[in-house]
Each structure stands twice: as C-alpha cells, then as structure tokens.
Amino acid sequence: MRNILLIDFGSTYTKITAVDAERAEIIATASGVTTVETDITKGLKQALTDLERTTGKIRFDNVLGCSSAAGGLKMVAIGLVPELTAEAAKRAALGAGAKVLGVYCNELSEYELDEINKVGPDIVLLAGGTDGGNKQAIIHNAEKLTGLTRDIPVIVAGNKSVAPQVVKILTAKLSEVVYTENVMPALNRLDIEPARETIRQIFLHKIVQAKGLDKANCFVDQLVMPTPAAVLKAAELLSRGTDRQPGLGDLMVVDIGGATTDIYSMAEGEPQGLDILWRGLPEPFAKRTVEGDLGMRYSAASLLNVAGASRLAEAAQVSEEQVAAYAAKVEADVKYLPADELELRIEIAMGRACVKLAADRHVGTLEKYFTTTGTAWAQNGKDLTPVKTVIGTGGVIINIAQPQQIMASIIYDINMPHVLRPQKPQFLIDRRYILAAMGLLSELDADTALRIMKKYILRGEE
C-alpha cells in the first residue's frame, strides 16, 4: 500500500483526497473549513478527523498541497502594448495559477502606482519590449515600481538588452527581484514558460510563508502550487497522456465558482481550413482564462449586469425581479443553495450564462475579409470547434442534479458562426472534485494520476 494525501486549501473549504496509489483508487475525500486567519491546520485537522471516521486511521507516505486560500496568488502584470507584451505577461500569470488583479501597459503613471499599492499584489510581473526592442517603458516602469509601499517580489521578464539595468533599479528598493526570460522575445512570439516557473518558485519560497500557509508544513511535505495551476496540470495530463497511456486528446475544463468562471483549453486550436489565416498572438497549448465578472455568488451582481437580467429571466421563465432578488440573496449568503424549483431554474440560467460568456472570451473568432481576390478568413485565437471533451468542475456544477444542462451552453451556436466554441463535445463531470488533487499527484506519479482521472471522471465510477 502506498497512501498519498492531497490537500486543496480553498478560499472557503479545505478539501482533502486520500489516494491508494498502487491500486489507483480514491480511498475517501473529506472537507473542512479553511482557517487561514487563525491556524490553517485547524480546518485541515477537522477534515482529517472526518476522513478517518470513514476509513479508520491511515498512515500517509506522501502529503502534497495546493492553495487558493488567503485570496489566492494575487498578481499584477505590466507590459508595453496592451495586445502584445501586456497580454503575454497576463497569460504567464494566469498560466501560473494567479489571480490577475490588474494589467498595466505603456508607462505607468503615479495614479496607477497608487492603484497597485492599493490592491496589494503578492507578485508583480514586469515585462515590456521585445529583445532589442523598446527600452524606455520598462526602465520607466521599474523606476516607478521603486515607489511600491510594500516590499513585494518583482519578476523582470522584458527586453533582455536592458534587463540588468531594470534589475539594478529595482534592487535598490526591493529585496526580491528575479530576472527571467522575456515573455515575448520577438514580436508575436510567446515564451511564457520561464516566467510561469519563476512565479511558481516565488510562490513556493515566499508567498506560502507570507500568507501563513507554511503552518501546514508540519502536515504537508510541500505546498507545491496554487490550485488553478494544479487544475491546469491535471487537465494537460488528461489531454496528452503519458508515455504508457494515451490521453483523451483535445479537451476543455469549465470551473464555475462563486467569484470567477475559469476556462481551460488543452488544444493547439489551429485553423481548420487552408484558406484561413492565423492572426494575433500565438496561443499556448494549455491555456487558462479567468473571468472575474462572471461568478455565481460573490460576482452574482456583475453577472446580472453582463448577462442582462431580462435575458436571464427569459431563460429561467421567471420575472426580472425574481432574478434580481435571487442574485442579491446568494451574493449576501454565498453558501446558499437553491431551495425550490424556481430558484433552481434561476441558478441554472446563471450557470449557463457564466459558461457561455466565459467560453466566448476564451475561444478564438473568425473574421471575414472581402478582398479583390475573393473572400478571405482570418482566425484570432484558438479554434476549439473540434474539441471532443468538456469537463465540468466547481461547486455549482457538482452540486446540481443536471450539470449537463449548464455545460451545454458551451456548444457552438449556429447563429454566432464566427465564435469557435466546441461543436459536439461529450460532457464529463468531476463529481468527486479531484482535478486539483490529481494535478498534485502528477508531481509524484503521473501514470497513477491519469488512471484515477480516467476511472472517476471519464468512466464516472463512484
């Protein structure tokens, strides 16, 4: 027997998954309340007691943890041109599992610095300029950042020609300044992996401690990554497979939460026709987007705003007032679950809106050009129409009886033919909420993690 305990310190709940690695089985799962304000081990002990009530005393050979507690990993990304290095920096932060509090471009102003000081990120990612390209902006921004009121880590991932100068400016005031490769070494070429890895290292060595998560270290061998990074890892493993087992191929993951809706896609997303030109920034195979205005509880009011109360009311066959009342109710009581048929209909309509709008922003689009030589097509972003598998995870999807109803709103809409959402996907549900845990497990044993995901998510075993 080789028992492994996987812990996800969430913003509200601490979820634990006990795995028998040799048999590739989940022994049990349990959860407790996250208690990061006082002592993070309190909620964990509660979950463990709960777990051992069903399993009896277990000895664990390994314990790994991920965390989105204490606000998650909060970052600010800075670049030069909004669509280029600023976007690249944002993608690197998102790919590392961060919550991006703000994206800034061009030369930072005094006001923007105040804003950054106010929102209080854990890490700042500073990019700008291709290698050998623009120098002024990143130097200006480094000088501005010396006005940070807290001593927070800054990662420098911009124009390599001035990197030493930028690092020097920053180290005069800040104690943790790390240089890594440029997120955009040449125009329209992304290289975000080194920045992602650097973010992860800083998370591991600095942030965990700064947030008081290190108290968990007497239980946990290591808090290895932010939770979204673990989900990304699991999804990539499930898609690509290992040397010994095939993966599922192109897939997407939809995570509807109380505050945000996250979409992950594991696919190259190349154009489907030879006559389609691929435009804009290249896309990473493993891509994550986060929509802060689309959520089921904390962001219920903004969801109403974006989706439109009338449209939600129509979808749920209720009045606008009823939608507004329900949204206000769940925003005030974030642990609330629909109590009757009417509330369930509204909940489903809200969930469907989250999925559809978040997917619209994640997937690529086609644009038609009328030229003198005929019609030409340009594709921006990933073509995800051929994606065969969409996995649902997160509280809303797991707690509802008909999650497929919500997830179906991701399907390609013939009335919006230029938005490249999946056409005929199968829907899988992460019923036991194991994706993040399997991302962690893959650090130790990718084959077992993949086998467990296939067993419980693909084949739906209980």
């Binding site: 030069l80 041109v81 669509e83 280029l84 290095t85 300029g129 291709t130 050998g132 390209g133 623009n134 120098k135 955009m184 040449a186 125009l187 030109l277 435009r279 050009y369 009328f370 030229t371 003198t372 030589t373 030409a376 340009a378």
Partner: protein, 144 residues
Amino acid sequence: MQGKKAKVVLGVIGADCHAVGNKILNYAFTAAGFEVVNLGVLVSQQEFINAAIETDAQAILVASLYGHGEMDCRGLRERCIEAGIDNTLLYVGGNLVVGKTEFKQIEDKFYQMGYNRVYGPGTLPDQVIADLKQDLAQRGFGCA
C-alpha cells in the same frame, strides 16, 4: 549606434492578401542587413503601430496592391504621433490607387498624409533599400 541592425516593420495593409511581394521584400531587406519584423498580409494600422512600439523599429514599410491604398493608409502618421513614435519613417509602395492617375499626384497625396517615401508599381527593392539607408544615416542611425 554603429554596427547595430536597423529594424523595419513590414506588412500588406488592409483587406489585401497579396503575399508574394511581401515575401520578396522580406527576403530582400533581410539580405540587405535589416532586421525585418514581418507582419504578413491583412495587417491593420494598429498592428503596424503596436509592432513598431514594442520592437522599437526605425521604419514602417507599408505595401498595398489592391487599389484601396489611399483609404487604408490615411491616418497612419497621425496614429504614430498619437502613440509617441512620430520619429518612425513611413514608406509606402505598390498599386496605391485604382485607375490611371499620374504617379506624381499619388506621390503628393501620400506625402501630405505624412509618408516619407512613396513608390509606384515596378520599383525594385534595391532602390527602397538604398533610400532607407540614406534616410537612416541622415538621422544618425548607421546600419549595414
């Protein structure tokens, strides 16, 4: 700045997908010692500007072959000024307008729009390269 490669942004503007000339220009300028940031075809004004800012290019070379050049190219200089890269050289060339307009007229029109050099059909890359070297040298940027 001696010895440093001069950088140019190259592309075909608007809803124009003439790709052959673009490939030839890319080859010719690279061979002449320039660092070419090639945006290919169907390039919008904003993409030219973004590329020039991020890469710190000295010149933007705009091509247009399908006759709508005047419409597509108007306002690019203003955008450069707005974006803080008003020092960037703007070259334009190709089949710039439809019909048999006298080239001098076309040239004047594009000069007024803020372009530094205007080239008609049949121009060879060598001429543009020679002009660009001269213009850059005048601005104190020695290159290959």
